[in-house]
């Protein structure tokens, strides 16, 4: 009997977590150093809320669809 594959939603969660973590970390570093990327509306700190949102969503999916969870 073959093993069941990991859920697609687990992969989605993993991808969102990794990307969200990277972008959120960059946003925090921008905030701490005060060196903002030269883009329009950079004072809105999009990396923090966009990356943070992806990170939270990714962690939720990871928890819900982690391997071994029925």
């Amino acid at each position: 009997m073959k093993n069941s594959p990991l859920s697609i939603w687990f992969f989605v969660g993993l991808m969102l977590t990794v990307y969200g973590g990277l972008i959120f970390s960059y946003g925090i570093s921008e905030l701490v150093t005060g060196q903002l990327a030269p883009v329009v509306l950079n004072t809105l700190h999009a990396p923090i809320w966009w990356g943070g949102g992806q990170l939270v969503l990714g962690l939720l999916y990871l928890a819900k669809f982690r391997p071994g969870k029925a």
């Binding site: 073959k2 093993n3 594959p5 990991l6 697609i8 992969f11 989605v12 993993l14 991808m15 969102l16 990794v18 990307y19 990277l22 972008i23 960059y26 946003g27 921008e30 903002l36 990327a37 030269p38 883009v39 329009v40 509306l41 950079n42 809105l44 999009a46 990396p47 966009w50 990356g51 992806q54």
Partner: protein, 597 residues
């Protein structure tokens, strides 16, 4: 694949892009280390998924049909994702900049009715007869002749279009990022070949779902930031009106869908509402969404009839939302994009860019990457670029997996190896996948050295879709349709399409006859040509069928309306019922069209 110019790239997307994506010479974006890390992680993940799913693709049913185990959500997202190519994203964003919200017709009337029709009316027949492909349905309904013809034409055109798309994408990456053409073609091809050959359709579907999420995660921030900068939708309209009033932007109605459709000369696309409704909304859209195996294959992989019917319905909601990340950024570009000196940037046609090299001009097709560069810093830009790459790869994987299934089930097995073992079919499928990628690469390099053939290749693909629709509809809903009627309907419908295309190519003034107006433009030609083609195939099928002997009713069980007993589905709460969600989708579709009337 149909629309702006003869057909689409990406061998799958309904929506066309300008045939030649011409760009200015300097790369638009410079990626940071973080951006490159985001892109590299993406490639690592898609290969990992393919490797992980290798053990799940041991039988032909698993390799070609994903074991028919996909839920409605997965099949639905994959169904839309296979169509969402990156060239489509960029091409239609450019069209929105040029023509305004008229471009949204290709996402709404040009997709939603057909998707719902597939789910609620046609899918039971595809699903109940357990066909592996659309040519497979033709074989069951009309016999092997039309199936083999449809299989060959589909397989040939699929890899050819995949190659055209591959080249166009490499060209985009060269211009946007300065990447070498060979690098883009080889890396993306190897990645797609690896994960589809390893995991089959299941791997392609998994990656398409992942890519779909990625496209939204990478691209949705652009319109959000654009709307914030413009002061919301109302602020955008006020700025646009001011720009038009002061002559900064060309005069036109950029924010209404139907008001300028009363006459061909009233809108910049040169289209009449009859062309949009009957040509795009019926002939082209139904042809693509209900008979193109590239997308139908995703739904056939569903785990039950209910899931198979729900999948296109779920897909329709996302399809309705795609203009948020495609059309809206294009529109916002009209008021947001600025030159380095702060003046309003004016994008121009490809021919103007090509005629003025070194002047720093940008073409319409660059609006999406320009908007990304405007708002997205390190990491986010990498995510946006990865979204474009993901869009390309999902389109290519869709082509390759569909090519593999059709070439084995509808060509190799019936013609060369009728008694092939299941293990042999899986091996042949993996070889066909790799072969499909190699042929696609060959096509990409051919196009690189003779770009003029791109127009012809794209037009070629469009010749088969509309007549196929006529024949499938007649076969599915008319018991009297015969083998001879199907064959001649398909043949004469295709010849009608080819003939009209050649007529206009040889004598451009013939457009006034094909598109029934001297004011019609190129896009109107595609719509009316498809309409005449599908009408011909239906008429010919009707007449020939009446003159020939029909199949006994018993042989039509599971294939034709009125001769098929559909399985009774278990009752479910209303919020899980496909008809309920179809009704909601229809209401949303009508509301969008009324709001933007």
């Amino acid at each position: 694949m149909f629309g702006l110019v003869p057909t689409s790239a990406a061998a799958g997307c309904l929506h066309s892009i300008p045939a030649t994506l011409a760009f200015s010479t300097a790369p638009l974006a410079h990626l940071s280390t973080l951006d490159l890390a985001v892109i590299t992680i993406y490639f690592g993940m898609v290969i990992w998924i393919g490797y992980h799913l290798k053990g799940q693709s041991n039988t032909s049913e698993e390799f070609f049909m994903a074991g028919r185990e996909m839920t409605a959500w997965i099949a639905g997202l994959s169904f839309v994702s296979a169509n969402l190519g990156s060239l489509e994203l960029m091409g239609w964003a450019g069209s929105a900049y040029q023509y305004g919200i008229l471009a949204a017709h290709w996402y709404w009337v040009g997709a939603i009715p057909a998707m719902l029709f597939l789910g609620m009316v046609m899918m039971p027949f595809y699903y109940v007869c357990k066909t592996h492909s659309v040519p497979g349905y033709l074989k069951l309904r009309y016999g092997q002749g039309s199936s083999v013809v449809a299989g060959f034409s589909f397989a040939f055109m699929t890899v050819l279009m995949s190659g055209v798309n591959m080249f166009a994408m490499a060209e985009v990456m060269k211009i946007v990022l300065g990447w070498d053409l060979n690098f883009s073609i080889i890396v993306s091809s190897l990645a797609v070949a690896a994960y589809v050959a390893l995991g089959g359709l299941r791997s392609a579907i998994y990656n398409e779902v992942l890519q779909f999420i990625l496209i939204w995660g990478g691209a949705l921030l652009v319109p959000i930031m654009g709307l914030i900068e413009a002061g919301g939708w109302t602020g955008f309209k006020a700025k646009l009106a001011h720009n038009i009033q002061t002559g900064l932007t060309a005069n036109g109605d950029y924010t209404h869908l139907w008001r300028s459709m009363g006459h061909f000369q009233d809108n910049p696309m040169g289209i009449h509402w009859t062309g949009i409704v009957f040509g795009l909304g019926f002939a082209i859209s139904f042809g693509y969404w209900t008979t193109d195996f590239l997308v139908v294959q995703r739904v056939l992989a569903a785990n039950s009839l209910r899931s198979a019917r729900l999948a296109p319905v779920i897909g329709s909601f996302f399809k309705m939302a795609v203009p948020l990340i495609v059309i809206l950024p294009g529109l916002l570009g009209l008021v947001a994009l600025q030159n380095p000196d702060g003046s309003l940037m004016h994008l121009v046609g490809e021919n103007v860019v090509a005629a003025h090299p070194g002047m720093g001009l940008h073409s319409y097709n660059e609006v999406l990457p320009l908007m990304m560069v405007r708002y997205l810093g390190p990491g986010l830009l990498g995510l946006g670029i990865t979204a474009l790459i993901a869009g390309f790869m999902s389109g290519m994987a869709g082509n390759v997996s569909a090519f593999s299934a059709v070439s084995i089930y509808d060509i190799y097995q019936p013609l060369f190896k009728r008694n092939a073992s299941d293990k042999h079919l899986v091996l042949a499928g993996r070889v066909a996948t790799i072969g499909g990628v190699i042929i696609s690469m060959g096509a990409a390099y051919t196009v690189m050295h003779a770009q003029g053939i791109m127009d012809y290749v794209q037009a070629l693909f469009s010749f088969f879709i509309a007549p196929l629709l006529g024949v499938v509809l007649m076969g599915m809903f008319w018991k009297r349709a015969t083998k001879e009627g199907g064959f001649w309907g398909l043949l004469l419908g295709t010849l009608t399409s080819v003939g009209l295309w050649a007529w206009v190519k040889a004598d451009p003034s013939a457009l006034k006859y094909v598109a029934i107006s001297p004011y019609a433009k190129d896009m109107a030609e595609n719509m009316y040509r498809a309409l005449w083609s599908v009408s011909t195939s239906i008429l010919v099928c009707l007449v020939v069928s009446l003159l020939t002997k029909a199949k006994p009713l018993a042989e039509l069980e599971g294939l034709v309306y009125g001769a098929t007993k559909l399985p009774v589905e278990e009752p479910v709460p209303f919020y899980k019922n496909e008809w309920f969600w179809t009704a909601i989708a229809i209401v949303c579709f009508l509301a969008l069209n009324i709001y933007f009337w």
